[in-house]
């Protein structure tokens, strides 16, 4: 095993940068256009080789591919077994901008600002440290372009992000890493992260190798020490305590919308209603098949439930409690494609959060070495790393363009689904399980 020693690696020379990025960009392009056979080692049941290559194609072109399945994976359940009951072709609506994909985030009628992203999608929290600053900047710029938002994750609010502050969500998580009055004041949305779908109930963990100088400084720590976020908030024992949390943030920023990110335990419906009554504008459910920069393998599939099973449960309970129209329900944790977005909405969500999809659009192969891998340096593609050399492979200009293209393709496919269902606004799809059908093994 190679042993990584901080300081061995240096900033790449101009020539090395040119060579590497040129080869990387050309390679991603060639793979996206199917110029070579699909890599045999690429993909898994959830993110198949086709889904990854299709995402790369969309990131290159802004269009959906003809040669790759860009809609479903092969996990044998959940989104992968759901299909839409499209109308007969003669009943389809015209494809175009009149098909409204915007999402209202404030439904409380409380006099605060209304935030309406152009897509029913915003960017999930990936902290500085778990990803590079370049990745954060790329996502932030894309969020500006799409009038949507991106969460900081729990790692602080890097100075460079303030120029995009209208589109940045400040996350307050259990370790309070990097939480400052300034960043809370700057944000249109404050997100309380109670738990993460990939490791529910376990808190957070940034491995020492990824907690370098700037990362540690922003988190108020010393470099190269493993940083744990506890679970849960040690000041929160009840929904009433949760309410005090929200009051505290609202005192600092009375205009901000409040998002509460929770995972999907058995009583997720009760948690959602409790969060609503505590003052949340957005209930964000993070399912157990979601992404992570580092999590115990045992947690990923075994604790809590997949998002497809949690959304209908919460949606129905919010209706039963008579508060469904007053809160925005967001789904994440295994939402991979535009089809997944539409299915999540049909199951009862208002919108979704993208995380892994953004990374795949920027070149991720899901090799699962984000936590550092055997090299200790993190992602070899320069995404989930703060290694001084590797992070340079992802430059904001290039990555922002890929994300923009990807979102163009996602919006196109969302509109494609809407028109084939005869819907002119994405909100009309919410909770419409009658527009879905379940396919059994082998059926398409």
């Amino acid at each position: 095993m190679m042993v990584y020693s901080p300081g061995e690696v240096k900033f790449p020379t101009k020539k090395l940068f040119e060579k590497t990025t040129h080869l990387m960009h050309d390679g991603l392009n060639a793979r996206a256009f199917g110029e070579f056979p699909k890599p045999e080692a690429l993909g898994d049941a959830r993110w198949t080789d086709d889904l990854i290559l299709a995402t790369w194609f969309m990131a290159e072109t802004g269009e959906v591919p003809e040669n790759f399945n860009y809609m479903t994976g092969k996990s044998g359940g959940g989104f992968d077994r759901l299909r839409f009951k499209f109308l007969a072709e003669e009943q389809w609506l015209e494809h175009g901008e009149h098909l409204d994909t915007r999402l209202d985030l404030n439904r409380r009628d409380d006099g605060r600002q209304q935030l309406t992203p152009d897509l029913p999608i915003y960017g999930g929290g990936m902290s500085y440290g778990s990803v590079s600053l370049n990745v954060m900047l790329s996502r932030a710029r894309n969020s500006v372009k799409w009038n949507t938002y991106m969460s900081t994750g729990e790692g602080g609010y890097p100075e460079e992000l303030y120029q995009y502050k209208e589109n940045i969500i400040t996350q307050v998580a259990t370790g309070y890493f990097g939480v400052e009055e300034r960043s809370i004041k700057a944000s249109p949305i404050i997100e309380f992260k109670y738990a993460q779908g990939a490791k529910p109930g376990l808190g957070g963990h940034l491995l020492a190798a990824k907690s370098g100088g700037d990362v540690a400084k922003l988190r108020g720590s010393v470099p190269f020490v493993s940083l744990f976020s506890p679970f849960p908030f040690h000041s929160t024992y009840s929904v009433e305590d949760h309410m005090k949390h929200i009051d505290w943030v609202q005192t600092i920023n009375p205009e901000a919308l409040i998002a509460v990110k929770v995972s999907t335990p058995k009583d997720v419906d009760m948690v959602a209603v409790g969060s609503y009554y505590a003052g949340a504008h957005i209930i964000h459910l993070d399912g157990s098949y979601g992404g992570t920069g580092a999590a115990p393998e045992i947690a990923k599939k075994n604790i809590a439930m997949p998002i497809e099973l949690a959304v209908p449960k919460v949606h129905k309970f919010l209706i039963k409690e008579g508060v469904r129209e007053n809160v925005t329900l967001i789904a994440s944790g295994g939402v991979r494609t535009a089809d997944d977005v539409a299915k999540a909405i049909a199951l009862g969500a208002d919108g979704v959060v993208f995380g892994t999809s953004d990374l795949v659009a920027m070149g991720c192969t899901r090799c699962a070495n984000c936590e550092g891998g055997p090299s200790g340096r993190g992602c070899p593609w320069g995404l989930t790393t703060t290694d001084v050399e590797l992070q340079e492979w992802v430059q904001p200009d290039w990555a922002e363009k890929r994300l923009d293209n990807y979102y163009i393709a996602v919006q196109w496919r969302l509109r494609d689904i809407m028109r084939k269902l005869g819907l002119s606004h994405i909100s009309e799809l919410r909770g419409r399980t009658d527009l879905l059908r379940y396919v059994n093994g082998g059926e398409q």
Binding site: M2, K15, L16, L23, G27, R31, P39, E40, A41, A45, R46, D80, L82, K85, A198, P200, G201, L202, G203, L207, S238, V239, V262, P265, S288, Y289, G290, G293, A294, A295, P296, E297, I298, A299, K300, K301, N302, I303, A304, M305, E308, V311, P312, K313, G333, T356, C367, A368, N369, C370, G373, P374, S375, C379, P380, W381, D434, L436, Y438, N440
Partner: protein
């Protein structure tokens, strides 16, 4: 009480408590306090003796590579660092002649090389690795167990789950977690406070006293520190070394090694952590033994060993009328039941452990005796997540079998489902100390993973997890609830 009186009057002084309450000097009290030890498993890195096949094969076209070097030599002339840079941070191309002789053992499958150089680099999954195991104990399980036994740590990786949605067997069960309101403040900083010890044996539900005030029915339980035990290796494997390894490892981590009585006697392995499987009253049991297991139910043999004061368990294959037999045995006084499924976790009628264990647990609950007895179960344990799921299903402690051999880098082949038909090939020149450490490491890793699950739930001790179906969710039931109204869903739909 002196202590409460002193506390009440604010004159509490530790030394006076030590001397007046317990009759100890201050030094003696300190000495006694210093004997307290927190339970800890000493995991140490162990090297591989029989290297598990690598995950990927890497093939580099020599001509393509030479062409690239030639081109870059001129393109980046003078910038030698650039010329010799390679798209691998793991050292696959770091050998003396670089990519001309790649080192696929170091490959993690990031595919940067294959994407950047699609014309002459290919990375493929290694078929040799994928051929290990069977459809239940898969190559992924084997690879993970190998890593756990090598390091003794909790496997931590980036990215999300990669497998199928739910799935058969234990994959169809999710464990619960507590979001905000939770019974404890455990989690990542409180794991050391979670108990994993379990009691084995007969537990009286109330104490009885004689006229002198002495307890007449003292508990006969004993405690082990882990909710899993080492079950006997298959009969197809006759290895004295394996028996010695199991016993030594069981002693180190304070669990039980269950082995045939003949092996124990012949090798002189008897002790408190060793459980001989006896077949008749004539079997001898060595000194220090706390518990014996009957190979099959026999009232006379049971009575023979029970009369000698041993905790007596009975091995019971879940075939035929096994549940009736279990209840009959309970009526006859048996308090430790060791339920055996096949190695895919199936009982004789094909049902999976979750269902059959729940049936056994609930039958004992309905009879009002569940807390008086101990349920052990073996067969079908393939990964660390199976432990909490087995306990939720009703077990007090889970038996490990094939996974112990995998941890020692044994290769299993043949019919791996049936009991005692598997072919086991041990590493050549098995180093017993090395193998013991591998089992200790596996125990450490699995215990720590158990703590992750318990911590997420806010459960302070594993004993409270037994039969807690309410802290689990079955994928099939959640699917019926979520998708029941959707057209085409089996059993539902519009």
């Amino acid at each position: 009480m002196v202590l409460s009186a002193e506390l009440e009057h604010g004159s509490f002084a530790p030394e006076s408590v030590a001397s007046e309450v317990w009759g100890l000097t201050r030094g003696e009290a300190r000495q006694r306090a210093d004997t307290y030890q927190r339970y800890h498993i000493e995991a140490l890195p162990t090297e591989e003796k029989w290297k598990i096949p690598r995950r990927f094969n890497v093939k580099v076209g020599k001509f393509g590579l030479a062409k690239m070097i030639f081109k870059e030599f001129f393109q980046y002339f003078g910038h030698w660092e650039t010329v010799f840079s390679r798209p691998c941070t793991y050292g696959v191309f770091s050998g003396p002649i670089g990519g001309f002789s790649p080192r696929p053992d170091l490959c993690v499958g990031c595919l940067r090389c294959e994407v950047q150089h699609p014309d002459f680099v290919t990375v493929t999954p290694n078929g040799e690795l994928r051929a290990l195991g069977d459809k239940y104990l898969t190559y992924q399980h084997i690879y993970t167990i190998d890593q756990e036994a090598m390091r003794g740590t909790v496997p931590v990786r980036g990215q999300g789950y990669r497998g199928r949605f739910g799935g058969p067997g234990f994959d169809g069960m999710f464990t619960d977690m507590s979001e905000i309101v939770r019974p404890s403040r455990d989690g990542i900083h409180g794991r050391e406070l979670i108990g994993t010890s379990v009691d084995i044996g007969a537990k009286p539900m109330h104490l009885e006293f004689d006229t002198e005030g002495n307890i007449t029915n003292p508990p006969t339980t004993f405690t082990i520190q882990l909710p899993f035990i080492f079950d006997a290796p298959p009969t197809t494997l006759e290895s004295d070394a394996v028996a010695r390894i199991y016993v030594e490892a069981a002693e180190q981590v304070d669990t039980l090694a269950i082995l045939p009585a003949k092996s124990i006697e012949r090798l002189g392995l008897a002790g408190p952590n060793v459980v001989p499987i006896v077949t008749c009253s004539g079997c001898s049991v060595g000194p220090g033994t706390r518990m014996v297991e009957l190979a099959t139910w026999n009232h006379e043999t049971y009575a023979h060993f029970a009369a000698q004061g041993y905790a007596v368990g009975v091995r019971l294959e879940m075939t035929g009328e096994w549940l009736s037999t279990l209840l009959e045995m309970q009526s006859a006084g048996v308090t430790i039941f060791h339920l055996l499924s096949d190695h895919h976790g199936r009982s004789g009628d094909g049902r999976f452990l979750i269902e059959t264990l729940k049936e056994a647990h609930m039958a004992l609950v309905e009879k009002g005796v569940r807390d008086e007895v101990t349920l052990l179960g073996s067969g079908g344990i393939a990964g660390a997540d199976n432990l909490p799921k087995g306990i939720i299903s009703g077990l007090d402690a889970v038996g490990l079998d094939h996974v112990l051999l995998i941890a020692m880098q044994a290769r299993l082949s043949g019919d791996m489902q049936s009991r005692d038909t598997v072919t086991v090939q041990l590493p050549k020149k098995l180093d017993e100390a090395w193998a013991v450490q591998r089992l200790v490491n596996l125990s450490c890793s699995w215990r720590d993973q158990m703590l992750e699950i318990l911590g997420a739930m806010g459960v302070r001790e594993v004993r409270r997890l037994r039969g807690e179906f309410g802290r689990s969710m079955m994928c099939s039931e959640l699917e019926a609830e979520a998708f029941g109204e959707i057209e085409g869903f089996p059993g539902g739909g519009r």
